[in-house]
Symmetry: C4
Subunit: 228 residues, 4 copies
């Protein structure tokens, strides 16, 4: 049984990749699916749609991380994998396979969610998400997420699932963006529904996320030294 942040080995890499694929497929189903159903049922009240979206995504994150962490670490996020590689918790080659798998899983999850709700499998989103305040928001939410993962994976591994679920679920409301995940950002460009993002707005999000993650690494490398 392995925790987020444990060293991988070649014997278990295929199992880990299947777990990462399952996790990102279900994560995107949760985000996109609950966005579609929330908007469809909320009769025009965006607060109700976002409430459903936030609660369903937070609940899914909790279940997915507890379920899959013993199999792959449940990174479910290229930036988490990158940070684990920086800390030496995953080999670079494995990290590369993790990221490719996460991207593929996320893209597949969007199509499955759209299919469940009889929407086109893929359609470029027209949901405008751009501008400095959105980038500030995306920088902050990612900074916090990586700070939590860095800290809890060392000091409180069994609480990590609950912390991430509460933080990202709450972040639907206390930030203006709450993606904090490049695989999610890219995949969400492919659905023209409640959770979508215009393809041309994705690069700004990716840059803000990367900057947030690297800032967190610089700070938390000092705050939580890498000893076990």
């Amino acid at each position: 049984m392995r925790q987020v942040g444990s060293r991988d080995d070649n014997a278990s890499l295929p199992r880990s990749l299947v777990a990462e694929a399952l996790g990102t497929v279900f994560l995107l189903i949760a985000i996109v699916g609950s966005g579609i159903l929330g908007e469809r049922l909320a009769a025009g009240n965006v607060a109700l749609a976002l409430l459903a979206n936030a609660l369903a995504t937070g609940a899914a994150l909790y279940a997915l991380i507890v379920w899959l962490a013993p199999l792959s670490g449940a990174h479910l996020n290229p930036l988490v994998t990158l940070v684990m590689a920086i800390r030496g918790d995953i080999a670079l080659r494995s990290a590369g396979f993790y990221v490719l798998t996460q991207l593929a899983g996320a893209v597949a999850g969007v199509a499955i969610a759209d299919a469940m709700f009889d929407m086109p499998l893929y359609a470029f989103s027209s949901h405008l998400r751009s501008g400095p305040s959105q980038w500030l928001s995306e920088f902050l939410i990612t900074f916090g997420l990586i700070g939590m993962v860095w800290t809890c994976s060392r000091l409180r591994p069994s609480a990590l699932a609950g912390v991430v679920a509460a933080y990202i679920g709450g972040g639907f409301w206390f930030t203006a963006t709450d993606f904090a995940n490049p695989a999610v950002a890219l995949a969400r460009a492919l659905t023209d529904t409640f959770s979508g993002i215009r393809p041309m707005d994705v690069p700004g999000f990716l840059a803000a996320e990367l900057l947030g993650a690297l800032t967190a690494v610089l700070l938390f490398r000092w705050l939580v030294p890498n000893t076990r």
Copy 2:
């Protein structure tokens, strides 16, 4: 004290069956009762009704599984019992009694919920739930549930209640169906309220659920080898 997935023995079978009966009675009370009250109070806003339905069902699942797992394993679902039998965690004869008890409990729970809210004890549902996107949804939610039960009952037994509650509670929003339980599907055909399903649509759901469960067993037998 026994965990989900432990071997049963003849001495405790009657106690286990009473626990499974109690659990399925209360599970159907939670699903059907909160559906009725949610729809009644939501003044036509289906999102609010579904929010109440999802939160109450998730909360009930958490309480029921923690409460009853030491007594029967808290399967509360014929497919969970089937999978435990496949893995050798419950004897075939006991499994048969479990499934019969779950069906009886679910049917009784529907009548009690209807009685609490002054509805006819039993009435065939007229709620249409059919078509390929619904079957895809039901396949997926069941696949995920069985994957979680298979994994967590071995590797994280104390977290199983929270995982199932979060996943099924969230699934009200991120899937189009979220039954994942043949006893629940059959019993919900017997109430013509918010949570109902037309009797003629039940077979499609049962087939999708069975297929989802068996697919999960094939995959997770490899992902989580059966060692203790």
Copy 3:
């Protein structure tokens, strides 16, 4: 440090009674206060008011039980104290003091909640809650609560707070009544707000609750034998 169900002793009785008083004061503040504010802000949508009422009460129950269980067992309910006395976990004389304290705390809590929201400190409720379906509901919710307390206090004491909070919070939606506590029922007769109950309807609730509790004791004495 003592768990729910542990034996009390004379030295700590005053501390236990202060803890029971604090707990019931805050419990009634949570139920009555969130009922008032929910109704006031919901603009006529009863589903929204009940959602706030259920979430706030469930959250308060969780916090109060974890907080006070090491001090008094956090019974907060005369029927829980009665059942603990039947099982021999609390002396009869102490149990009597517990019940008197719970009643006094509940009555005080109603006045404090009303004062916080500028309502009359006490006013008889005009909220009709009567009839066989209400009594069935009250029997069931109490039966389940006592079954959970009996089981978890022996087999899963650290999970009891979460189980009770989820069950009672969810029960706002899946039952028609969800009191399950004679001190709460009596005190709620004294506020003419969202959570009130007509004084003349209280005896029916008390009878249903007592019957539910005793039925649970009869069944769970067999299901969970009194060994440690």
Copy 4:
């Protein structure tokens, strides 16, 4: 790794202060940000706005306390620091730095939240919050919070984050105020949005909070003697 209430030492003080700063920045982002977005999306329904505000703040508190408690104790509140100093769990000099850091973090968090949502960074609030019933409410919520922190930091440290999150999240509904934190009260005077408080109303809140905290210390010093 340190729990809330552990002794600090000079070597780790800078790390602790960075953690307290991060925690109060994110806490104010959660309170103010979710207030702004809740009100903006709720289309005039204050119950929906407050529901989003309460859920997001409770979720953030849980994540922040679990994340930062190993680094600084995660006080995030001058009154918690004061009480820990009274009990001898933190040196007076460190406590002074903690309080200054919390105030600075809270003030910074308000500006960041406002920036994320394109509001003026700072603007005096016009939200009237005054009068005896508000002060009673603020006395009570602070009394309960300090009682919980005092008790759980000794007897149930690993449950403290969940208890505080549930209590403060629920308190949005069952009290009329729910600040319970002087740094939060001061900072909320600086945003003219949903969560604001008129500067001239802050002193009444601070007095009620201080009185509540000191009353809790007097009572809980007797209820939970200071032994380890």
